[in-house]
């Protein structure tokens, strides 16, 4: 299984990152959220810590080079800092977070990540607080801006992800000025469009995904394995199945075998033209 996976990665038909949806629970309810995550959702679809660790251990054996952990808000899980440390001991990892739950205690827990290949990717959509908070909820802008320097002080690498809907070039330029001033270089700033799945469908936001717009990257959730992290979406409380690879997620070989069968149809080398990450 390792050899065909590495070949698919080398040919640009698949990414070498394993994605984990740690939970669909979130303290925010962003208008474009792919997973309808929110504080009050009934089905939190949480992957247990041991499930995530086992998946990453098996991923390393199967030739995956890195891991992404997303949600929901990963830090809604009380033991996530420790889970992240354990994952980072196995493979380089980036954890996506809204950056609003970094109490002093949480920051102290994260000090255990020192020296490990781990980064936190915080969402920030605008240099204008009102514009940012319109999409992401009141107080989000101030909270994220307060968190970034505290993470950098602790030498935890920070990336910023900006999800754009109708920002002008000037607005984006202002945001870039802001993240540079916070100590986050351009290379650690990701800009991507809103994808019209999940809550963005209801809100009529974003762009439709074409079959080759996203590099396939095996993505595990409590509902199953999906083609990429933009696939495991929820609408009206129901998980979309159109990009489901398999309901079984472990052993990882089981979904990987099916994933490889599906990416066999992907154009070789097509990853260079795909912009959604």
């Amino acid at each position: 299984m390792r050899e065909p996976f590495e070949q698919a990665v080398a040919e640009g038909r698949a990414g070498d990152r394993l994605w984990l949806y740690a939970t669909y629970h979130c303290n925010l309810a962003c208008r474009y959220c792919l997973t309808e995550s929110a504080p009050g959702i009934l089905n939190r679809r949480t992957l247990g810590a041991e499930t995530m660790i086992r998946a990453v251990r098996e991923a390393r054996e199967l030739g995956f080079e890195k891991v992404g952990v997303t949600g929901g808000e990963v830090f809604m899980l009380p033991d996530f800092a420790e889970t992240l440390r354990r994952i980072a001991e196995l493979l380089p990892v980036v954890a996506l977070t809204n950056g609003t739950l970094f109490t002093e205690r949480r920051l102290r827990e994260l000090e255990a990540l020192a020296g490990l290949d781990v980064a936190l990717q915080l969402s920030l959509d605008s240099a204008d607080a009102a514009q940012n908070d319109k999409l992401r909820g009141r107080g989000n802008f101030d909270s994220v801006l307060a968190t970034i320097p505290r993470l950098i002080e602790r030498e935890i690498p920070v990336r910023i992800a900006t999800t754009v809907e109708d920002q002008t070039p000037d607005e984006l330029a202002a945001l870039c000025e802001l993240h540079r001033s916070l100590g986050v270089p351009d290379t650690d700033h990701i800009v991507r469009p809103v994808v019209r799945r999940g809550r963005a469908v209801t809100e009529r936001l974003g762009v439709e995904l074409g079959p080759h717009d996203v590099l396939p990257e095996l993505t595990l959730t409590a509902d199953g394995a999906f083609m990429h992290p933009f696939a495991a979406t929820v609408r009206g409380g129901e998980t979309d199945l159109d990009l489901l690879v398999s309901r079984q997620i472990l052993p990882l070989e089981a979904p990987l075998r099916r994933f490889l069968a599906l990416v066999g149809d992907q154009p070789v080398g097509d990853d260079v033209v795909r912009s959604l990450r």
Binding site: L241, L244, V245, R247, R258
Partner: protein, 171 residues
């Protein structure tokens, strides 16, 4: 009305779409199963093997399928398979007999023995005695009885699935 979503080809997982026809159509049963693509991956080839032509002819298999579905009262499977049974050559009188429209003694000896076996297996498998086994094996080879017993059990499973989830019968 179905208690399960009947997925269109665009809603179905990629690995389930291979079980849809080229024009995007599929049976309601397949469309309901598409939500569980890992199971379809093994279930569909198995159904093809156990329900398809083998060393046993299709008439015999369809006779079993219709009889079991009649016993279990599965409107979906009866609506789907009664026409198929006719198409593959099950005589009208035999079809009428297994659907309880005419007495079972209208069946030829081999089919009568088979139906007796299938009836007991479906309704009272613990009540099958050695004498029935011996009597049935006078008409069927052992491997045929194995295959037809698995077929009858599989059809009961599908009958239960279709009835429990109210899968809409084909028109």
């Amino acid at each position: 009305m179905s208690r399960l979503p009947l997925l269109s080809p665009t809603e179905a997982p990629p690995l389930a779409r291979v079980w849809y026809r080229e024009d995007g159509s599929a049976s309601a049963l397949t469309r309901s199963l598409a939500s569980a693509p890992d199971l379809l991956e093994t279930l569909m080839p198995y159904l093809g093997q156990v329900m398809g032509e083998s060393s046993i002819d299709l008439q015999t298999k369809e006779l079993v399928i219709v009889r079991v579905s009649q016993l279990n009262g599965c409107s979906y499977c009866l609506a789907a398979h009664r026409p198929v049974a006719g198409e593959v050559g099950v005589p009208d009188e035999q079809l009428a007999a297994v659907c309880d429209d005419v007495p079972l003694d209208r069946l030829p000896p081999r089919e009568r023995a088979l139906v007796e076996w299938v009836d007991r297996q479906t309704l009272d498998p613990g009540g099958i005695d050695d004498e029935l086994v011996v009597r049935t094996l006078k008409h069927l080879r052992r491997d045929e009885l194995i295959e037809l017993t698995l077929l009858a059990g599989t059809i009961t499973m599908l009958n239960q699935y279709c009835t429990a989830f109210r899968i809409p019968p084909p028109r």
